[in-house]
Symmetry: C2
Subunit: 581 residues, 2 copies
């Protein structure tokens, strides 16, 4: 490609509403252009990156035996009503009425349509396993679209769906996809981690997220440097402390803590570690009639160590809380605790409350909690002596760095990641809802065992940039760079020698199958270099009249700070040696 | 590709609602699968065809210097309000409200968005000309979607938009696209015609449709076998007859024609050629106030020869009718003609009516028309003697086969076509509406001169099938076949010799870069052959134990009725000789 025949549009400054570096750089480098909130034009430079991402995904999906098809973007509501998602999904599901008033949705994902295809097309166990995938535009009407392609409303996703005859087959399909994903992410040339994710009630451990490591990532990912344990924060288990609960050493004592309503304030006031305080979180569960009226409400008190954070996914698995819970209202709290939030605790309750202690809290002694009296806390609190054992003990919290690894092989560390892929065992959730069956060896209808597998095609470039950039701009891995090599001739418009050499080098690199762009725009060197450093093309070759007199060009990798001189005759070999390095 | 790793799904019978042969065959061959009215899944076999169409279009667009980008499917209404199309377009424009109640549309085309990009990105004449294109999903909420991908609601279109500094530049961009389109359609391997189309008020002659010739086509296309004249029916000019109007030879006479309200019935009753009758069509034009109230209405009488059809596009260019017209109501007709339709004519009007005669009628003598009296016609009607010359004479009719070619080089012929591409000079219609300007050499802002260029990516395969099929199924041109070659081994599951030879041949063809599928499904030969004839793969190689004993295979082109024996050692060369043939 020659720059004069392409479209290059760079900006000195990013628009003010771009918050994260990838968003800023994608706008500045002219990869994308905002059309509306969370909706972007993929500009020529950005589309090249997206197409390279797609090509790698497609190759590896095909290699793994998946078959590509393409499902419609506009899908009839009937199918979404079969699974209940038409009503269950919130306003992220973009709903449309057509000219005849019929309901449609813009696909956010395609479980319903692919299951509809399977129930019509996959009649027999002999046709299984089958894995259908598409690379297709999706829409999710995010409440707060932000960060450019990171959390857009319209985006491109690769979504694959496997159909198997039994759970063992589904597990094999799942593993084949997890393997393919490793190959895909290896090929992208990004640092990533495959982490265990929560699979809800269905899948046991068959759910993994593929996270691109980046300090700016939205997700906390947990891993053990001493082993291959890795999980996302929702999933990572906090083991119970080792050893028994220590004996009480302090008397129970009510202390005034005027205006100190947080554990941190209380710990500071009392001069004790935050880890000796316990926070009280009050939840409620409602029992409802078939008509949806509330029959009765149970109030729950969750106790976590002051320095720990609640993990909602884990709380949602506590028996009694696993059918849905909410935070208690102020009036419910006052009725049960006789006190407003900030000074709550498990001792001296006004009405029955179920107490669930985090594993850590259950083994604490001499702890501090609210006294259920405004401006007062209790210290020296001890189980059994001061209050009964909790109704339940569970893992309620997020792990923190230094926690023991669940596999017992070391201590957990935490880093940030950006989720760009997900493999998930679905079981028969959709096949049952849509009565999608095949005939087994005995001629009996059975529900498909399904898995689903996504890659955020348009999010991937944003994640790659979050991981790979510097103050000058983007640094693309070779595999997904818009161009692998840029030729920057200096003074091409003045020097016939430079022009001829540049054109010849360009032709040679094209002939060698290298994805090269020749910058024939006649920009000044400074502006030209700044453009390509911003755009992030990994390999740059500079031709100048002076260099050519010595039959030399300058080569510089985007990650390096200085250029090296290379004989013009050797540049192709030099480049090939550096590419993919 | 091996069939066992792909997805093949053929049907003996097409669903009852499939009317045209391409729709039937696409369903039967498993290329597409209906999801909703006018909305189809592109199944794996069909997607391969679509991707090949896309690849050819993309290569030729790039070669012509167009730059690919990708615009959003969901587009904000604001831009569509700037051009007025948000209100002007009918319900084909699918309108959406997002979660915040903001208006969006699903793109049916992208003039607004691309013009918005241009006005932000193309600042200077130095950046021009520029041609942006995308290959992207579109949606038009057709009132009556039908014929499968021929007139679907969701479809894939390649849409390109050129931006130029002046009309001469725009004309050059237009011609470059028209050339690229010829290359594209040549490469598809289809018989097609580029025909002049009506460009409305803007573009002079700069509008051409690319029509795939097919007896079942919806469009009539007009051409001159003796020259390169070709136009669509809307555009093709009917020349005035040569020579002067003949003299009157018959007296004016009122004849009873009870119950005979059509020209054909009257001609039959009177025993005269249909071409001696004149039909009367009554139109109305309303003058309205700014508030939209009708101030007054003009009634028009159009006179066409009884065997000719009115051409609405041409009528819409008659001065006075060129701001919009409608058919007159029954009561308007009765008020002006004193008679109900079926017996109308230009003689003896009750109120003033503007009379427009087709060029042909203006030169007729001794003609027949309604008497403005129920059950009566006039015969022997002659201009000047019996009624004044018409208020206007114009080309009002569709041409018919045998008419003189407008280029004077022969007689017109008519065939049917399917429109799959369109190149169109837009002028400044959109750039003015959206105030999209660039700075010219003098630093003055000027509106872009634009062109737009579409190819119906998903309609193309349907058109190809309408043109290329037989009673056994589809016959793909090599360039867009889902697979170019199919290897059909007979008894592969029993014979190790067949299996080994098939696998080796498959590997050899893959290595030669041939897009081949090996049918390793172990189907019976009859079913296997029927599948591939239905699917339409152009080149078939059959391997059998008997043939292999003589080191021979059978080759058959899909268009041929018999196979030829080819030495196994020669089959690659034989195939290469036949491919693209």
């Amino acid at each position: 490609m020659k720059a004069s025949q392409f479209f290059i549009s760079t900006l000195k400054e990013a628009p003010a509403d771009a918050e994260v570096v990838s968003h800023k750089l994608m706008l500045r480098a002219g990869l994308i252009k905002k059309l509306s909130a969370g909706i972007y034009n993929y500009m020529p430079m950005g589309l090249r990156v997206i197409r390279k991402v797609e090509a790698i995904v497609r190759e590896e999906m095909n290699r793994a035996g998946a078959v590509e098809l393409c499902m419609p973007i506009v899908q009839p509501a009937e199918l979404w009503q079969e699974t209940g998602r038409f009503d269950a999904m919130g306003p992220e599901l973009l709903r449309i009425k057509d000219r005849h008033g019929r309901d449609y949705v813009v696909q956010p994902t395609s479980e319903e349509v692919v299951t509809d295809i399977a129930r019509q097309e996959l009649h027999s166990y002999k046709q299984l396993p089958k894995n259908f995938y598409q690379i297709q535009t999706k829409f999710r009407d995010e409440r707060r679209p932000r960060f450019g392609l990171m959390r857009g409303r319209e985006f491109i996703m690769k979504d694959a769906y496997s159909f198997d005859r039994d759970p063992a087959g589904a597990q094999a399909s799942y593993q084949a996809m997890a393997q393919a994903y490793r190959r895909i992410f290896d090929r992208f040339g990004l640092r990533y981690r495959a982490v265990a994710a929560d699979s809800g009630a269905i899948g046991g451990d068959l759910s993994e997220e593929f996270q691109v490591i980046a300090a700016t990532g939205e997700d906390a990912i947990v891993y053990c440097p001493q082993s291959d344990y890795a999980a996302n924060m929702e999933k990572a288990e906090a083991l119970a402390p080792q050893g028994p609960r220590p004996a009480a050493t302090q008397p129970l004592q009510k202390v005034p803590t005027p205006g100190k309503s947080t554990c941190a304030e209380v710990a500071e006031l009392l001069g004790v570690p935050l880890a000796s305080t316990v926070k009280s979180l009050v939840l409620a569960t409602d029992r409802t009639s078939e008509a949806g009226d509330i029959i009765d409400t149970q109030i729950w008190l969750l106790l976590l160590r002051g320095d720990h954070d609640m993990n909602e996914v884990k709380v949602g698995k506590v028996p009694g809380l696993d059918q849905g819970f909410r935070f208690a209202t102020q009036s419910e709290i006052e009725a049960h605790f006789g006190c407003k939030p900030g000074y709550l605790g498990p001792i001296g309750l006004q009405k029955p409350v179920k107490v669930v202690a985090d594993r850590e809290v259950a083994l604490m002694a001499d702890w501090i909690c609210g006294a259920n009296e405004e401006d007062h806390h209790l210290r020296g609190v001890n189980w059994v002596r001061d209050l009964p054992e909790p109704d339940a003990v569970a893992d309620l919290r997020n792990v923190v760095a230094g926690d023991r690894s669940p596999d017992g092989k070391g201590e957990l560390a935490i880093e940030r990641g950006i989720e760009v892929g997900h493999v998930f065992y679905l079981g028969t959730k959709y096949s049952r809802a849509m009565n999608a069956t095949f005939l087994d060896e005995n001629g009996k209808p059975r529900h498909f065992e399904m898995g689903c597998y996504g890659i955020g095609i348009t999010r991937l470039p944003a994640a790659a940039i979050e991981q790979n950039h510097d103050e000058r701009g983007i640094i693309w891995p070779d595999a997904i760079a818009p161009f692998t090599v840029v030729i920057c001739p200096i003074g091409m418009e003045r020097s016939e020698a430079v022009r001829a050499a540049a054109e010849k080098l360009y032709a040679d690199l094209c002939a060698a199958g290298i994805d090269v762009i020749l910058d024939d725009r006649s920009e000044r060197p400074g502006a030209m270099f700044a453009d390509w450093e911003l755009i992030g093309v990994p390999h740059r070759i500079v031709l100048s009249e002076r260099g050519l007199k010595e039959a030399q060009v300058e080569y510089q990798h985007r990650r390096e700070t200085a250029a090296v001189k290379v004989a013009l005759a050797d540049i192709l070999a030099h480049l090939q040696g550096r590419m993919g390095a």
